[in-house]
Symmetry: D4
Subunit: 245 residues, 8 copies
């Protein structure tokens, strides 16, 4: 998009071709924008790429999305992360399900909304997502079965592990598995450190090498990182990236 | 000790009978005092109670303790926490081994000095201390055997679990056992939160109810709390505290 | 509960038998969940164990709890911590009052809601709870009488001391008594450190050994820790745990 | 002192007549200056006012102070706060002992150096200082006698209470006395909040009105505040400030 | 008030005679209590002392105070700090205006509510309060006149200086005057440190000795400290405290 | 290793087969251990696996490593991270150079030691490491060439980007490339946030999706994460992991 | 304005001639004041200077501004920063457009409101403001064109660069340009450091010399700093400040 | 400098032509580099530009700089900031003294080293620097004369104001002058906030618009910002930048 100093119609200059350049679609975080800004950006993405993804959509924007794009796009709505995917009728999502396998685990039920935001990004990147929610750390016996499933049958290439409170689950899992782990701390907890800081710090201090983290509640970032890893692996398996190495 | 506004000989007014009042002996934290202050306080305790316990003893104080009390007391030295116990020859430690059973676990080798400070306090309170060091969280398989031993044969009434870095081990253990756990964070870790803050916060955020914590590296506090719990249980078992309840 | 990757009915996988394994019942912290999630979990606990405990219940959930479980369960409501206990008619609480004696003290009136959450957990663990509220530190004369009662007639095995602001009361009490103290900081105070951080830090720095703490406003954690200590003591006194030690 | 942009001999421009303007002498905090800067400033004060006060004097400066001012001034040395007072032989300290009565209390022995810095400032302001060190909070019984002495016979107009760790003592005392209290937190403690932050926060959150605080280890500031209060009261009693009000 | 373990009517145990013991009346901070708790405590104070002081009164409590005490007490209302003073008709405030002189200064208009809370406490302690609001630091020329008035004609014994943002004003004033200064930081400012932390820290770091501080927005604490200082000075001037010193 | 409660010879229980289980070798962080502990653990790894890796080796340990293992192992020394690799003569490192391609970039020269620690871990995992140091952000023109080389000829599967100070480089790079980026903040900077906190926070806040971070100066963690990603990709390319996905 | 201790009509004492003294007009930050305070101050400025500038105007104040000043002033309204400029009909803004050239850049759309507050201040100081919004850092290609325009044709003397999240853009730009840069962090971001702290810290740590910063969201401060720089340059170019130097 | 992946001789890739691009010379902060790295970079700058500037030079590097460059360059040494400027004999500093006028003020003597680092950068940018040190805020009377000199005779275009502790001086000065102010906080102070955080925060919260800040002790950054402002003004005055605006 050419920059025009006299174009006062809209100030937003969305990165419309990030998906092509990076393989990661841009997700509009609507809670930080006015309703008009979000609608404008959504419209641009829809026109340019046939798809627009929005997350953390306030109630009034949700309503506008449903009414204003009714004619031109199909809307998929995720109530947990309050996310919306608009798709033009002609939009052929040719990559759908052709990407890598991603596993998404949460420690508790309160971490699910955040995990679903990550899963959404992965799916929009073409990944196949396998989930296991509420496996706890205060009762490790609940962990074995799902973990065996994800690493066995589901053959995930990377794990996203979401946890709030003590943030211990990602460390425990990272000590047990041989795939890279993306730690996703959530803003769940008590008093000191209870907005996710304790969980984030604990993950940053993990004794189990093979894990890196994103910021608190940043499901989008966790999904993008995991999606990039998984898709590159899928490409390698499918012979789409070269044989050296 | 009567307070005398004209007594300028020494400013220290140690709590000589805390052991009687509380069942917890006072431990002199020498790193916060001048050598002369520490020697003076040690001497008073030795005279009044037949025992003086010092921890975090700097090298110059260690030397003085060894030379100055040679005639009048026996010195026990713990290199890890740099702790010293001076005992008058006639000091009959009648409670020795009559207290409760305390288990002390560490996540790594770097946590051992701190754990030994806690164990020392418990032992001086008469407890029998059972230890299992370096059981990790980045490899949970190392945890089962020691835990089974402590809860089974050793029949501990309370567990002290020391951990730095992610501080995940106490939460994991607390989710598995039915005895109260005292979390002891240690000042071991990387960058942000690496002076024990991450470990402390993670323990304060534990998902596993049945744990309370002391401050970073506060082995003395952890030992005192665990010792009080274990000794009261021992007294109950031995019929030394009443039958109501 | 067997984990089923295809079970999309509900994501929550509550730890239904923690009470058996740990002796501590699970308390659902409703403010972190959607109303539907909380109702679903409550229903599962009610079916599996005959009891469901929820705390920090929002107004809309309270209404739903009252209406939806009217037929199948009796509801006990605590307005302070906004906690609810649902009990199946046939639920025989055989442990009621057979546990240990727990004392609960608060520094001010603003700490009472939090203290009542702790007391609730203790009572649901079978403990007998003795309370003394608003005993202050800015007027220590108000402290002697209640303390004498709790340690004398009431023979408590452990004290929970809740305080906000300067958090000084638990340290003062811990210096006077010979039972273990669980410090419970509350989110009451002025400006810097006034969301309970000052109280928590002060308790973590206590000069009086024999105290451990839980996080700010974590009445559930304080209750679980104290309940485990008191009940094990009661079991020892009643000869329900062995005679060694 | 007239400012001269071409005077490159020395950059320091000490506030030589603060004592006259404010009634509080300037104390040179030597640890923040080069040895030469400190010596230069000391010399200027000695010449202009007949007295120079330095605190936190490093070993090399101490030596220089002893050797270089031997001929022209008398040196008083306080080993605790490593403070030095240089006095010209002809310096008539006419206010000595004519000021108000100040009480200085410490919780532990580690707080004494800091308290002595405060006491020094008060004495140099002409106050009579009464001290009671190591009165503890983990054993309140040690507190009554000294407090009775300070408020009774010694008739102090203001109390400085120094404490590290939990910082609880000033709150406890402020709840008991009817004179203003200056809280002086010291950098003594464990891990989180252990450089005096916990003590400072706890004092800032005091439940006992009638206390204000200075920064951690700021004995000079505590002494100046208390000295101003006490001296104005002495002046009022001696009829040196008017009768209105 | 005798403590009664069976008195379940009310949990609050207000410190009814603090005014006698300390010379500082208790101010009920209503925002931390339920409406019923506040009303109950107000009633007790009114009955026991003829006066009840409440601050930070929510709208619903204000209404209740106005309606429920209409018959038995006169209500004085300060809209800034939302404070209320209830006085029994027969309440003879014999100390009114007999106390010391207190000066109250604010840097900006946003600091006035907080300053008025401090002034209220002083007045209820019998002090005469002189105010100068919005004297700024970003334009020091506005400062000279008010300061001259307060120290000259008004002869204040102590200054309360309230400031948010950079918190520079108290330091500037403390460098100019010879009376003790109580720094009162307010929760006004931008981004980092803007809830009063910058102002508090800056005051704690003051270069101008002769100042101590209270916590952010703690007008009550500032008023109590200043009132104690001023009243003792008034008593000294009026010969109500002895002649020694 | 079987746990033996009576084995008091050594407390360390190193995770000797982590390399087999996780594909990541254990690196002994020597600065957190005593010299004897480090030597003991090194010896065990050497015996069990033919290799021992130590990092942050203090001077005295370096000397001991050189002298004590002279006969039995070959020592490779990296002066930047002060890391040592001991290899038994017979140790056949069959994976050497068979792993994936990892790119390591630093913003400045001060970040190199940390980057080399990461590179060491990758190489010990069998990766081929390509580096580009000191490419700056305060002069982006220095960035293009190295980046083109790494993504082009070197075909890296993952990038580690180390930066201190503003931590901006990883975000800038992540916005330009289509491989996953591991952000490695280093403890380089000024005053506030200058121990790596600013760099870490900036990376956690990245606008460029496709990046996750490890803690400050945690080169080992960054290397392990990148190594796992790259090696799994290499395995996929080499057909060593299955064809599904 | 002469200070009058008996003037109780209004407490606000606005700095009416700051514009003359400093060249920077006072902006009333309405969110920190009551509606009545804001109206009163606005009226005073309007009368004294013919102009009043208010920012962060709450909805109820906006309404009052529109209705009450309808007759006497023209209102300009900026919806982004919710700012209002009231101008008396006869107000001749002779400096309009005679000041320097200021460039204002934002990283994202969420930073625009804050940038517009800065631009408003510059314009009211007579500057010509050139803007380029949403130029990103996660796609540097969007940056070149606007930057070329601002430094080329627009000949700006100073740049304000607003960014939230990672705050990387100002560092990147400062490394490329030869005009001073004012960094303006905004309160946009995720979890830890996400209220603008990460952006602020990152800017404070910039590797690119030639930048200074203001506090988070402080558009007014950024505008004033940039306006002073640009206007002095304009004056120099126009020969309005002397020829020395 | 062309990037060469095979050039392993040195990893440092200094930004040799920043001076040309930005007008700000690169200053090597030696404390963050090894002695060899610093020497290598110094040599490159000397060869490429005829000048090398290093700051915070450790004692061993100082010695090496003196001995190794003796033949080829002249060394200027500033003991305060421990800074060195190496100049090739043939180095013609044609800009010397042709830049703008910069004023540098410090609050205390402890701030001088930092201020001299800033002044050094300005001078190396060709500015004329005027200084006024130790003008205090705890005695504002010391401020008038120097300020009058700097703004009058010296005609400075910009002021750098360095202050530690309360950081109040820059706000006070910014409220009085009509030139832009660069606030330079220094790491001088007591306890909480005493490493310069209080000073930095206070400056970030300034009530006096027209000031921006750099990080704690970042004299280099302050000098670069002020130098850019002053030199552009000098260029404007000298007609070296155009007449528009």
């Amino acid at each position: 998009m050419t920059w025009n100093p006299n174009d006062t119609a809209s100030n937003a200059r969305p990165d419309l071709d990030r998906h092509l350049r990076k393989g990661v679609p841009e997700v509009v975080i609507a809670e930080r924008k006015t309703v008009e800004q979000s609608l404008d950006i959504a419209r641009r993405f829809l026109q340019a790429t046939g798809r627009a993804i929005l997350s953390r959509v306030p109630a009034d924007l949700e309503e506008r999305l449903r009414s204003e794009f009714e004619a031109e796009a199909e809307l998929e709505w995720l109530p947990g992360p309050r996310a919306a995917v608009l798709r033009s009728p002609g939009h052929a999502d040719e990559n759908h399900g052709r990407g890598g396998n991603v596993g998404v685990i949460t420690a508790g039920t309160s971490d699910i909304a955040c995990a679903e935001e990550a899963a959404l990004v992965c799916r929009e990147m073409g990944c196949v997502v396998h989930t296991a929610y509420d496996v706890g750390v205060a009762g490790l016996h609940r962990l074995w079965e799902p973990l065996r499933h994800l690493l066995g049958e589901a053959r995930v290439d990377v794990l996203i592990v979401a946890a709030g409170m003590d943030g211990a689950l990602p460390s425990v899992i990272s000590g047990l598995v041989d795939v890279p782990v993306v730690g996703l701390p959530t803003s769940v907890g008590y008093g000191l450190g209870g907005k996710g800081e304790a969980a984030l710090l604990s993950m940053l201090q993990t004794c189990s090498p093979g894990m890196a983290v994103v910021n608190i509640d940043n499901g989008i970032g966790a999904g993008a990182m995991a999606g990039l890893i998984a898709n590159r692996m899928a490409a390698a398996r499918q012979g789409r990236i070269g044989t050296s190495g």
